[in-house]
Structure formats: C-alpha cells, structure tokens
Amino acid sequence: MSKEIRSAWIIAIAVILFAAGLVLPAAADDHVVGSGKRTYMGRTFPPQPSEIWLAADRASVREGVLTIIYRWDLGKQWTIFPRTKKYLEEPIDTSAAPKPEEKPAFRIQEAGWNYQPVYEWSVKVAGETEVIDGRTCRKVIMTGVAEYSEETRTLWLAKDVPIDMARYFEKIVKPGLDPAMAALYKDYPILRESLVVKSDIIMIPPIAPESHWEAAHTTIESVDPPPGTYDIPAGFTKAANRAELFGR
C-alpha cells in the first residue's frame, strides 16, 4: 500500500470514526464495521473493509488486511499481517506528556522533494438533514486549500449512535489529528459530538490526478467481542522489523 493511499485510508477511517457524546454501559465493547472504496483514474477499486473493537484498555483496528491491536494495559501494540502470518510488537508510550517530535537533520540532498500540504480549512454546516440507516444525519462540508493541494470532505454526522464516542476520540481519532484538524474539531462541537456515518472525500494532490474516497459504516453497536479479539492470533510468529512483517 503506497504512502498516499495509506494516509488517505487513515483519513477516511479517522473521519468516519470521529464523534463524541454518548456514554454506554461499561460491560460491552464498542464495535464499528464499515467499508470504503477509492476511485482513481476512472476505476473504482474493490471496497476495503474496516472493523474496530474498543474497550477501556485495549482496541483492535482492522483496515483492509492489516490489523493493529493496542494493548494499553500492557504498554504494547501488535501489527498483524495475515499473508506472512507475522506480527510486529512495538511499545506504546503511555506517558501523559507527548514527546517533542524529533526533526531529522537537514540534508541538502533531500530538499525540495517532499512537499507536505499545509491546509487552511473552512467548515460549512448545512441546515438540511438526511436519514441514513435509520439515523438522522447532518451534512457538513470541510474544505482544505493548500498552496499546491486541495481536499474536500463531505460528512454525514449522527448524534444518535450507541457507542462511547468520547472514548473513540481519545483513543483512536485524536492521536491521528494534525494540529490544524485538531483545532477545527475544537472549534466545531458538532464534529466532536457526532459520529460520521458516511463520508465522501475528494483529494487533489499537486501532480497526480484526483482521488475520490467513499466510506460508510454498516454496523455501529456496543456488544461483547469474540474471544481472542485483542490477542495475537494463534500460529503467528514475531517479526523483527517491518520488512520481515511484510515479507520484503
């Protein structure tokens, strides 16, 4: 999976998972199932499934074929790759204060190669609502303009969802937000207080043709997870690094 595709996936998943508000019975875990598809150069790629289980001290996040299990109780995360039947174990830093990001030393050899868009975002909360799978959703359009890139996210947000969205935000969505997006969520309570039930994202990068991502949730529930949901699957062996994990 290319870096661009992967980051778009992360955005799609993050967007569709984000919301806040409802607090559910502590006994059950949150369960969100969805799928997303990408259209690029006239071709719509096969839908990619996503599935998230979230408990108080652990989570399992599956995007396509890759699953990451977060065990905050153990201070570890495991990245599971079925094709090689390997997993990669990495520590989770649970300290409250985030470490300052270490900038790599400047090399003139790399200058000018890695454009990273810095978006200026605007948000339009439409007045109309739409009922999707029985949930009343409000349409929100987020438009990002950078010097060389553009991105438009059309979201359908529902408040009436049976999961602990505050926990979703803290554990899964928030860690993936860049500062500009975090500020946006802070400024617009509707983004924090709702779940994105459906999303439609158009990305226009500087050079490549535009990509179109559509994602939706088919299951949003609070239930007991199957046994082993937060464990390393049987028969999987430990990889020393990412190259070994992916069989490169």
Binding site: G42, Q109, G112, E120, Y148, P206, R248
Partner: protein, 538 residues
C-alpha cells in the same frame, strides 16, 4: 516516464515539411472521420509493433507480449484514446468498426476543447495500471502539438544563420518532430512493461540533490563510461570500466545513503535497459528494416532511413549530462544504457536471467570483472591526475554553491505567498528565463525572476523578482513587501462567475502578470491561490 517528459519539454528545432495528408480514415460504421492526429497516432502504433516484430527477440531474450499492452493517449485538447484495453473505464466509448491489427479503439471526447491538434504531435508518459474490472499495465502518453521554440533573447537567427552549417537531412530526421522519436518512446515504454513482468522493483525512484562530492565523481563516472564505450582496445576499455566503478564507490561513500545508492542503481537498471532496448533496436536496423507505413499514412515518418543520428544522440546525451552539476536523476538513462552496452560487449549472454536475478548492472559488471575493494581504491588513487579533479571541483563547486545560496535566499523570503496553479491546463510548464536557474528536488529556483511562460491563450509575464516553479504545475512568488490588510495585487476581468471565478482575467502582482481566459482566485489567510481554469479563449 522521466525521459519521455524531458523529450516533451525539449521538443525543438524547426523545418516543417508541409505535405498533403492522405484522406482521413473513416471507421466502418461511423460517418465521422477520425481526426488526422488520431489517424497518425494509430499508424505510429502499428509501426511500433512492426519494429518490435522484427527486432524484439534479438534485443532482449524473451521479450514478447508487447502487442498485448494497451495504450492510453491523452491529448492537449482533452481527447483521450484507449487502444487494445480489455476493460475500459466508463468514460470511453468504442469506435464502431475500427480496429488496429485486431485491437479495439475507444475514445473519450467528453471534455474536448477547441484546440487545433495539428501534427506533428509529441509527448511522453509511462506505464500505468488502469482498467474498470480488470486493471492491466498500460502505456500512458500525454501528447501535445509541436510548438516552435522561441529564440533565446539576444539570438538573431537571421544574422547568425551563416555561423553554423545548414541542417543536414539527418539532423532533420532526428528532430523531435519526426515520428521516429515517438515510435522510440513507444518502444521504451513497452520495454518498461516487459521489465515489470520479470523484475521485482524494490527501491523506488531516486529523489536526490547533488553535492560537490557527488557532482565531481558523477562526472568521472560519465567520462569513464564514455571512454570505455569508445575505446576499441578491450583491455583499455575494461580499465575505464574499473574507473567508473571506483568513482561510483567514492561518490556513494561520501554522499549517499544505502537506500539512495540502491535507488540510483535500480534507476540505471530500469531506465538504462529501456534506452538499451531502443539503442540496440536502432543498431539492428542498420542491417535492414522493412517499414510498414509510408508518408501517405504519416508525413512525419522517414522509415528509419538513417538511424545513425538517433544512436549518436545517446552518446551526445551522455556527454552533455555527465557535466551537469545539479543533475542526479536523468543520468540513469545514459549511464545505465552504456553499462548494458559494455556488458554486451564483454560478456555476451549476460541478459539471460538478468532481470530475474535481481542484480544491478554495476554490481554485475564488478562481479564479472572480479574487482575487489583494493582494485577500486587503486583506480581511485589515480583520479587526481587522470580526471583533473581540481578543475572539476572548481566548476561544480561554483554551481552548487550558487544553487545552495539561491535555496536559502528563497527560504528566507517572508511575506504573502502567491501560488499560481497551472495543473488544470494539463500541460507542462516551459518557463522562459534568461537569468540563472537552479534545481533542487522539484523546485526550480529563478533568483532573478523569469521572462515568462505561455500555454495556448494563457500568458504569464515575469519580473525581476525571485520566483520558483514547484511540483511541476505551480509557480510560487513571495511578496516580501506585503502589508497586512492591503490587497497586494490588481485584478481585472471581463465577467465573473460565482464568488471567485473570473473570465478574461488579468492578475498583476510585483512578481508576475497573468492573463488567462478563466481563473479562480482564492484569498486565504497566508496565501493567494490563482488557478488557471481554462487555457483556450472561448
């Protein structure tokens, strides 16, 4: 892809042959004749297959299947043509009754604009995986009508015409306008498609800027390869190959990460063997070639009657490219090709299992020549005298120092940013600049500004103020004298659409003046983005 891009950009020279074209082809079930440029394109494609039918097996063992690779042609008038694809995407419509040697032809004319596509048409591209139900590797080419280059400022063609010998027929024939060039590009891209079936691409494209150590040793690499290629005595030629390998080692030890070194060698392999495929094809043509088409089908096709200029072009490209202080990427075409040619000379049969073996050209040369680290160190010890390192350091040092100064000068400019987006024009920018210019990554820095650029009815006039081209399609200028609250630019227009789209517009800043048939102006907090929406005046 990169070579083709450079070919597109360097489309040059003049001498137009005005020849009556053959009657346009009419598809069997359609009364609408195919446009002339499309008819010629299909003929060039047939000629490409004809060339490969005659030579592919001798160029590279096992090179078959080239007829099964679809082509996607994208034209500057936004017409797209797909040939031989098993699963076209929805935008394409089958041209009824038209087949090219059994291949179906599809057109997408939904976005066509009024832009005259007068042959010759030229361009470049690369392999892409596309398709609706079945995604297959397809040669994608982006093509535009030939544009006569504007003379450099200060050059009086009429006055200077006697200073150079008149163009020979051969010069005309390897002019980029000749269809031979486009056929060679087709072959180059088809070879890439072949490679990807037998070689596992591992490291990605080299994204690297030179430093002094790199530039000096890279030039020694090029010099040594050229000497090895031209030297008739095998023993002496092999000594130059050793110099090449020693220079490469010194270059990488001082300047490159392991990943960058692998990327460079992989680029040599991918692009070098693709250039080798066309060079070997041309060499084989010397012994006899039967063209399929003639002037009636394509007035810009000369039947590869004289292939020498095309072969010479590669060695001349090596001469020109090796001394470029700022270039790391484009050298792979010639450096890789010459390594492959030397392997063929000294180690016949090297191609058998080469791609499957996943070994680079330079590593294979070193292995086959049995060179140790000590051998290479001994060769490098003699560079000072044999390659005049002090002179090379002086020449490259000056350019690289100026480049770095320009980079930091651009980085230090603070103020309101103006980003001009030409991407919707779907054409590469050919910036005219009479002052210095430097390249770092995708940045092209013009520290004294630019003269201007044109894309059809879009005209941008520069000023004596630093400006950069970035990410292929953008110009970026910083107004260092901007003041908060002040508009900072003038905007004139004939009419307006919505809140930010302007028709027949002119934007004037301290760094440039842009005139375009239709633009969008977005005033953001930290920058103004001007997007050129139309390139043809309606």
């Amino acid at each position: 892809m990169k070579k083709s891009t450079s070919l597109l950009i360097f489309v040059a020279v003049f001498a137009v042959l005005i020849i009556d074209l053959a009657p346009a082809v009419v598809s069997a079930q359609s009364s609408e004749p195919l446009p002339e440029y499309i008819r010629i394109e299909l003929k060039r494609l047939e000629e490409t297959w004809n060339v490969l039918d005659q030579f592919a097996a001798r160029v590279w063992p096992g090179w078959t299947g080239y007829r099964d690779v679809p082509f996607l042609f994208e034209y500057a008038n936004r017409v797209r043509m797909l040939v031989g694809h098993p699963s076209p995407t929805d935008e394409f419509t089958l041209v009824p009754g038209l087949e090219v040697q059994g291949k179906k032809v599809y057109l997408d004319r939904r976005a066509e604009i009024k832009l005259e596509m007068k042959p010759p048409i030229a361009g470049g591209g690369g392999p892409l995986f596309i398709g609706k139900e079945k995604q297959v590797q397809t040669v994608w080419l982006k093509l535009s009508p030939y544009v006569e280059p504007k003379p450099e400022p200060g050059v009086d063609k009429e006055k200077d015409k006697d200073k150079k010998p008149a163009s020979t027929l051969a010069d005309i024939r390897h002019d980029p306008k000749a269809s031979e060039n486009q056929i060679l590009i087709n072959i180059h891209e088809l070879f890439h498609c072949f490679q990807r079936g037998v070689y596992r691409y591992r490291f990605g494209n080299l994204r690297y800027n030179t430093d002094l150590n790199y530039a000096v040793h890279s030039e020694i690499e090029g010099l040594a390869l050229e000497k090895a290629f031209l030297e008739p005595d095998d023993a002496k030629a092999k000594a130059f190959v050793k110099d090449f390998l020693a220079a490469r080692k010194a270059k990488r030890t001082g300047s490159m990460t392991e990943l960058e070194a692998n990327q460079e060698s992989e680029d040599d392999l991918m692009e070098g063997t693709a250039v080798y495929s066309t060079t070997r094809t041309l060499e084989l043509m010397k012994a006899g070639y039967k063209p399929l088409i003639g002037k009636a089908e394509d007035p810009f096709f000369f039947g590869f009657a004289d292939v020498a200029p095309y072969i010479d072009k590669e060695i001349r490209a090596l001469e020109i490219g090796r001394s470029d202080s700022m270039e790391a990427k484009m050298k792979c075409y010639q450096y890789g090709c010459v390594q492959a040619l030397l392997l063929s000379r000294f180690f016949p049969g090297w191609q058998d299992g080469f791609f499957q073996g996943q070994k680079f050209l330079d590593a294979l040369l070193r292995d086959k020549m049995g060179l140790s680290d000590a051998d290479l160190a001994a060769a490098a010890a003699g560079f000072k005298d044999r390659y005049r390192i002090a002179d090379l350091e002086k020449t490259h040092g000056e350019v690289i120092s100026n480049r770095d100064k320009a980079y930091w000068m651009i980085q230090a400019r603070k103020g309101r940013v103006y980003a001009v987006n030409f991407k919707p024009t779907e054409e590469y920018l050919s910036v005219r600049c009479s002052g210095p210019q430097y390249k770092l990554g995708l940045l092209h820095i013009y520290p004294e500004g630019i003269d201007g650029l044109e894309i059809r009815d879009v005209k941008l006039t520069g000023a004596k103020s630093p400006i950069v081209q970035d990410e292929l399609y953008f110009l970026r200028w910083v107004d260092t004298e901007s003041r908060p609250g002040a508009k900072g630019y003038e905007l004139k227009f004939a009419s307006r659409e919505g809140s930010d789209v302007y028709v027949d517009a002119e934007v004037k800043t301290g760094g440039f003046t842009l005139k375009a048939p239709k633009i969008r102006v977005q005033e953001m907090k930290d920058f103004v983005k001007i997007t050129v929406l139309e390139k043809i005046k309606q």
